[in-house]
């Protein structure tokens, strides 16, 4: 087996089936190094990583792995410990692998994007530090992924591949600069390319004036994307939390569903994300108690029922959680009236 002392993951072992014929790659392991949030580096630190990689591994990297880690490819188990310690001395730790929390990752967010409604780098860094143990010592039923996108464009593709996806969103009205709208109007047909494409048809452009019925806006970003100089996300910024996305194994691929339509992440930041951490812990506890081996949390929720899951983690059902309410009428009512007192009762 490949790995380092005290860690249950972070290194993926690979042994050749024909070690005698190919002694050079009889072992060819990969280390996952937790990337720097936002994928920001300095030349200095990169060169030092290159040196470590040359010295202890095959001189090959992935910048980055699909989860987000830096990967160092092609070392032998005997090099593992030194490679690891050199990395830690440079400030890098291992990322996740196996049935553990996987290395969280995020979009560039407020560092270089005007649309981020919260600090994606800060939250990702904070959660990563908080859950070092869950990342390095696999005790889950299966993997668990967290990704943070600053706005509904979801530039980290969190919605399709993270058990917990945090996506920035806002509440107040989209900020409109009519002068800049007029500038864009010179460049393209605003009615055709912006207004007519609004999914809820809540925009209007008449007599050179753009108006938005924000009460019907679903915060899709399209209009803002199209005219970044003229439109800006509304204030009252927060995030949406989705749960349960994953790719095919074992059940089939699925997108997540909205667990919290508006999470006041900027307020929670001031409290060291206490609310979020508590929520994550409750989800893990539930998964730990009811999940089976190799069952992602989304599959578990489907198996036991969304209602039961919500009850367990203490959230109320909301229409935002479903694409649409049920169409099939097989409702498992739990309340009923009892003949004697004609009072509403709960099933035993």
């Amino acid at each position: 087996m490949a790995g380092v002392r005290g860690y249950g993951g972070g290194i993926v072992g690979r042994f050749s089936d024909e070690p005698d014929e190919y002694p050079g790659v009889k072992e060819y392991h990969t280390a996952r190094l937790n990337q720097i949030e936002g994928f920001f580096y300095t030349s200095d630190v990169l060169r030092k990583l290159a040196d470590i990689c040359d010295e202890h591994a095959g001189g090959l990297f992935n910048f980055h792995g699909s989860t987000g880690d830096i990967q160092i490819l092609g070392f032998k188990q005997e090099e593992a410990e030194e490679l690891f310690q050199k990395c830690t001395h440079l400030g890098f730790d291992l990322g996740g692998s196996g049935s553990a929390l996987r290395t969280p990752s995020c979009c560039v967010g407020p560092a270089r994007c005007e649309w981020a409604t919260y600090d994606t780098l800060h939250i990702t860094d904070n959660l990563t530090r908080e859950f070092q143990n869950e990342m390095h010592r696999p005790t889950f039923n299966y993997k668990f992924k967290i990704k943070c996108a600053g706005c509904p464009n979801d530039c980290i593709a969190s919605g399709a591949r993270s058990d917990l996806s945090i996506v920035g969103v806002w509440k107040a009205n989209i900020r409109i600069d009519q002068k800049e709208v007029a500038e864009y109007a010179k460049k393209f047909d605003i009615k055709k390319y912006v207004v007519d494409k609004c999914p809820t048809h809540c925009m209007d452009y008449t007599d050179g004036k753009l108006t938005i019925d924000d009460s019907n806006c679903v915060k899709c970003m399209h209009c803002i994307n199209s005219m970044p100089k003229a439109l800006r996300p509304g204030l009252e910024k927060g995030a949406q939390i989705r749960i349960g996305a994953k790719v095919p194994m074992v059940q089939d691929p699925r997108l997540g569903f909205i667990l919290i339509p508006f999470y006041d992440v900027n307020k929670d930041k001031e409290e060291d994300y206490a609310f979020l951490k508590d929520l994550i812990q409750k989800i893990w506890d539930f998964w730990d108690e009811y999940g089976t081996n190799r069952e992602r949390v989304g599959e578990l929720i489907q198996r036991v029922g969304v209602g039961n899951f919500l009850e367990a983690i203490g959230l109320d059902p909301l229409p935002e959680m479903v694409e649409y309410p049920r169409a099939n009428p097989f409702i498992k009512f739990e309340e009923y009236l009892v003949p004697d007192d004609e009072e509403e009762g709960k099933e035993g």
Binding site: Y7, F40, Y41, L60, F63, P110, Y193, K219, V247, P248
Partner: protein, 350 residues
């Protein structure tokens, strides 16, 4: 740099280096204060801050699997033009962040001289996100980097220009595990096995935990069986859907088969919430052979898709939106791809 004793103690659980230490000064000054951006030309954009400061980004296509020499080369460029700072993107591109507009062109020249393309912004073909493939993964049904290189050579032009109707996100995963965000890509190429794993009957007991191997199969095709007196398993060929899940759990059930491994193409996935909801990619070509080193069949199929899309989609329509408008029957008609029973989803009751 994190504040730990670097001398003698064994360091663990420190987490990543703190990002604040790696942000270029102009970003530190304008963190969270960006006002808007403009795309200046393919691969180049500017972000303007409330403070009036301007940050120029030059996006460079990277191969993702890179050598330490590459790392040193880009570090040199970062030193020369960007005060030693640089970043990667979520699709494995490299970005140079400049505070001086006049550095853009010289930088681009040097980047191109190294053999790397500048582009991948706006209505272009983004960098192909991919996975390990034959390089490092045992489950792989195809060679990630090889196919991706062949594709990017061929469609290079769509990366360095922005003449597609909208962003096209292409991704490659070498097996059904679909590492990466391949499942929801405009064009997804996925390695496919077509035969059940082989049972190395004598090794099952030693290498595998039989109950979890059986439980791993999504279609209940793995069953316990005693072979030559040893506990082992058998695989029901009629049920197996070649997913490799049992192999992940039990290395004595290798699934690779040079003759029958190949790739499938799924299209019309989307992650952003812009205009339409995120959605998974849908099957268009169930199987194409691995034909190294240039995978001509795959390239032809992708060309067919890209050309039909370029021709048929309206400005601003992602692949998913285009097909949504014209309908799948029309898509199959235009492209000439055969529609088979494999295109119909029977795997799960729904």
């Amino acid at each position: 740099m994190p504040d730990v004793d670097k001398g003698t103690v064994r360091i663990t659980d420190i987490g990543p280096p703190h990002y604040e230490d790696f942000l270029p000064p102009i970003i530190k000054r304008n963190y969270g204060k960006w006002l808007y951006h403009e795309i200046l030309k393919p691969g180049v954009m500017v972000h303007v801050s409330e403070s009036g400061e301007k940050l120029y980004t030059v996006r460079v296509g990277s191969t993702r699997i890179v050598s330490s020499d590459f790392v040193r080369e880009i570090s040199d460029l970062a030193d020369k033009y960007c005060g030693g700072y640089l970043k990667f993107t979520t699709r494995n591109n490299l970005e140079f962040l400049l505070d001086k507009e006049e550095n853009i062109e010289p930088l681009i020249k040097e980047v191109q001289a190294l053999g790397f393309p500048v582009g991948g912004i706006d209505h272009s073909l983004g960098n192909i996100v991919h996975t390990q493939g034959w390089l490092h993964c045992h489950t792989s049904a195809s060679y990630a980097s090889g196919v991706v290189k062949a594709l990017m050579d061929e469609f290079y032009d769509y990366f360095v220009s922005d003449k597609l109707p909208a962003k096209v996100r292409m991704a490659f995963a070498c097996c059904l595990n679909m590492c990466g965000s391949v499942g929801a890509s405009d064009i997804a190429i996925v390695g496919m096995h077509r035969r059940p794993p082989r049972v190395m009957a004598d090794r099952v007991k030693d290498l595998c935990e039989i109950p979890s191997t059986i439980a791993a199969c999504p279609v209940d095709a793995v069953r316990p069986k005693t072979i030559d007196g040893k506990p082992s398993v058998e695989i029901d060929e009629d049920r197996c859907v070649y997913c490799g899940n049992c192999y992940t759990v039990c290395p004595a059930l290798p699934i690779a088969d040079p003759l029958n491994d190949g790739v499938a193409i799924f299209i019309g996935g989307k992650v952003s919430n812009a205009r339409t909801k995120p959605t998974f990619s849908k099957l268009v070509v169930p199987w194409l052979p691995n034909n190294p080193p240039r995978w001509p069949e795959v390239i032809e199929a992708v060309r067919t898709i890209l050309e039909a899309y370029k021709e048929g989609a309206r400005k601003g329509e992602r692949v998913a939106e285009w097909i949504d408008r014209i309908g799948w029957p029309k898509f199959f008609k235009i492209t000439g791809f055969e529609f088979t029973k494999y295109h119909i989803d029977d795997f799960r009751i729904r």
